[in-house]
């Protein structure tokens, strides 16, 4: 169950070289939204767009291919995409909403659909929720410290940040690469991530991440009926090149292992919160 319910898991990458050029892995998110926009499945999507500060994401509503292109790539800092979930149906006027987010943001959206306490008329407008795998996230101040202090690299000169193969990678515009062991990054993780029990966005329509597949490819879980339908149409439209997950290295076992590691560790921490902090006082457990 650490991988959630899914109808199929597959390795894939976008067939659009322009999308692939700036995307983090197989360009799955950008390609799926671009296809869904073209096909009229969504009117637009809430994505993590660029902001005034380098690598600091800012939630944004993309209604054109150009705007989607501007949001390609992972920004390893908090992008509160749910912040726009009501506004997108109001001043932006979208009826069929796409949204990308981390597993916790997928939880937020599904809770919001079942318990729309403050989300009037939103629940029926979610047309495509794409989840991205996530081990942890960092406040922007943490990213600055990792890149500038530990990595001794000016953030303005960074082309791409990546976490993979047990390291935090900083690629600069001039081609240099700095890597930091993940041991260093842990103290910069946001505390809320340590109670998180989802690695592969179990509640998304379609979820994707790099783990499990070779560089430039992505692992994709097709989960909901809606996701299944859209994925089939996107494949039929030639949007993706796919390979059976069994045929690629390192494969699904690594995804299962990392998901199990994350959930086990965080479950243990959650339990410790009930006792660790003093005499008979428990910290709150959000999961009932």
């Amino acid at each position: 169950m650490v991988l959630g319910n899914y109808k199929q898991v597959v390795a894939a990458r976008s067939t659009d070289p322009e999308i692939l050029r700036g995307s983090q892995d197989g360009g799955i998110v950008t390609q799926l939204f671009a296809y869904a926009l073209d096909a009229g499945i969504i009117d637009g999507a809430i994505v993590a767009g660029p902001s005034d500060e380098p690598f600091k994401p800012e939630p944004m509503v993309a209604t054109t291919r150009e705007e989607l292109m501007a949001s390609r790539g992972t920004r390893y800092s908090i992008s509160p995409n749910m912040e726009l979930i009501k506004e997108v149906t109001r001043s932006y006027g979208l009826d069929k909403v796409g949204i990308v987010g981390t597993p916790c943001q997928m939880q937020a959206i599904r809770k919001g659909q079942l318990y729309p306490v403050g989300l009037r008329d939103v629940p029926d407008k979610i047309a495509l929720a794409i989840g991205i795998f996530c081990m942890e996230n960092f406040p922007y101040q943490g990213i600055l410290q990792l890149v500038e202090d530990h990595g001794a690299t000016k953030i303005d000169n960074v082309r791409k940040l990546d976490i993979g193969k047990g390291k935090f990678w900083i690629h600069t515009e001039r081609g240099a690469t700095v890597d930091l062991p993940l041991k260093i990054t842990h103290k910069y993780e946001q505390p809320g991530c340590h109670v998180c029990l989802d690695y592969v966005a179990n509640l998304a329509d379609i979820s994707t991440g790099s783990v499990g597949t070779p560089d430039g490819w992505s692992t994709i879980f097709v989960r909901s009926a809606k996701g299944d339908d859209i994925w089939a149409k996107a494949i039929a439209a030639g949007a993706f090149e796919t390979k059976p997950i069994e045929s690629v290295k390192p494969g699904i076992d690594l995804v299962t292992k990392l998901a199990t590691d994350k959930i086990t560790k965080n479950q243990k921490y959650l339990e410790s919160r009930a006792t660790e902090y003093g005499v008979g006082k428990a910290l709150r457990n959000p999961y009932i």
Binding site: N5, P59, S77, I78, S79, P80, N81, M82, E83, L84, I85, K86, E87, D95, G101, T102, C104, Q105, Q107, A108, R110, K111, G112, Q113, L114, Y115, P116, V117, G118, L119, R120, D121, V122, P123, D124, N137, P139, Y140, Q141, Q190, P191, G192, C193, H194, V195, C196, L197, N202, L203, S224, A225, K226, D229, R273, L283, R284, P286, Y287, I288
Partner: protein
């Protein structure tokens, strides 16, 4: 997912999940007229129901038995009731298939609070108004389940800011959430509570009272967090986001709280909520919406089936 299969059969016998269900919103002009129809219909329904309620097994309706529901109007702006009515044809479906509206000053011609399964109470209680105090006590006596409908009933909300001295009842200045006077079973926070949240609670309350064991279990699981809110107290504020989420090491910066706030008191700064406390009207929506206030995997993992079932239940 046996629960949901049987839930679907109970709700509509034959099951048809219309995935591509076209958005049912007519153009704005048409929408505006809807509540007017709605306002007339339930009254009709009640009149004909009066007879049939007393009689036993009815027509060939697929639904076993209806529950009885009342809307009790305390000091509120009627926005909660309007929000209920904003389910448009959904409201008619609810009244047609699942619930008889046995009390509602605005829509039904019944003067005294009758016995009922579910009382939806809107508004807080003005304790200088003796009639209001009597009515809320009466409501508790006569209703199996008391639901605080909307933020005024749950938390006082905007009525917290009353200072009295107004025309034509200058002594009316103290407004209490109903939970300060009676036991409350379920909270629906929000100003106004959303049509979809009210709808979901109605369907779940119906299942809780009339469903089979599995359905009761699902409805119980769904309603538990809203019951827990009712147990947790009668005060809400944007500060709950700080004290109950961030201070507890639970916030992960999703932004749901900011989206939920009806007065835009919350903005996201560097990935965390920043609350403009003077703007806050104390409606409780932010905290209830936060996935780190309560989150039940048992319920949310079944979101797809539950939403299909509710959708189906709302078909006329």
């Amino acid at each position: 997912m046996g629960i949901l299969e049987s839930l679907k059969t109970l709700l509509f016998g034959k099951h048809d999940v219309s995935e591509g269900k076209k958005d049912e919103k007519p153009e704005p002009a048409a929408q505006k007229t809807e509540p007017v129809h709605v306002a007339e219909k339930p009254a009709d329904v009640i009149v004909e129901k009066k007879a049939s309620i007393i009689q036993e097994p009815k027509e060939e309706k697929p639904v076993a038995e209806k529950i009885t529901v009342g809307h009790v109007h305390m000091s509120g702006c009627t926005g909660c009731l309007v929000s209920f009515a904003d389910n448009y044809e959904g409201l008619l479906t609810i009244l047609d298939k699942y619930a008889d509206l046995v009390y509602c000053l605005t829509l039904a011609d019944v003067r005294h609070i009758p016995e009922m399964d579910v009382a939806l109470v809107e508004g807080s209680v003005c304790i200088q108004d003796h009639l209001a105090v009597e009515e809320i006590i009466e409501t508790r006596k006569n209703a199996k389940i008391v639901v605080a409908l909307g933020a005024c009933a749950c938390y006082g909300n905007i009525t917290r800011f009353c200072r009295g001295g107004q025309q034509n009842q200058p002594q009316h200045e103290s407004y209490l959430p109903i939970g300060d006077l009676i036991d409350v079973d379920v909270y629906i926070p929000g100003c106004a509570p959303t049509p979809q949240q009210i709808r979901n609670v109605c369907v779940m309350a119906y299942l809780l009272l009339k469903g089979n064991d599995e359905q009761k279990a699902l409805a119980g699981a769904y309603l538990t967090p809203l019951m827990n809110l009712a147990k947790a107290g009668t005060e809400a504020c944007g500060c709950d986001i700080m004290t109950q989420v961030i201070n507890q090491g639970l916030c992960m910066g999703c932004g749901s709280c900011a989206a939920a706030c009806p007065v835009r008191a919350i903005s996201m700064e560097y990935g965390k909520p920043q609350i403009e406390r003077d703007l806050c009207i104390k409606c409780g929506a932010c905290y209830a919406q936060c996935p780190r206030s309560f989150f039940s995997f048992d319920v949310v993992n079944q979101y797809e089936a539950i939403m299909d079932a509710i959708d189906g239940a709302m078909q006329p």
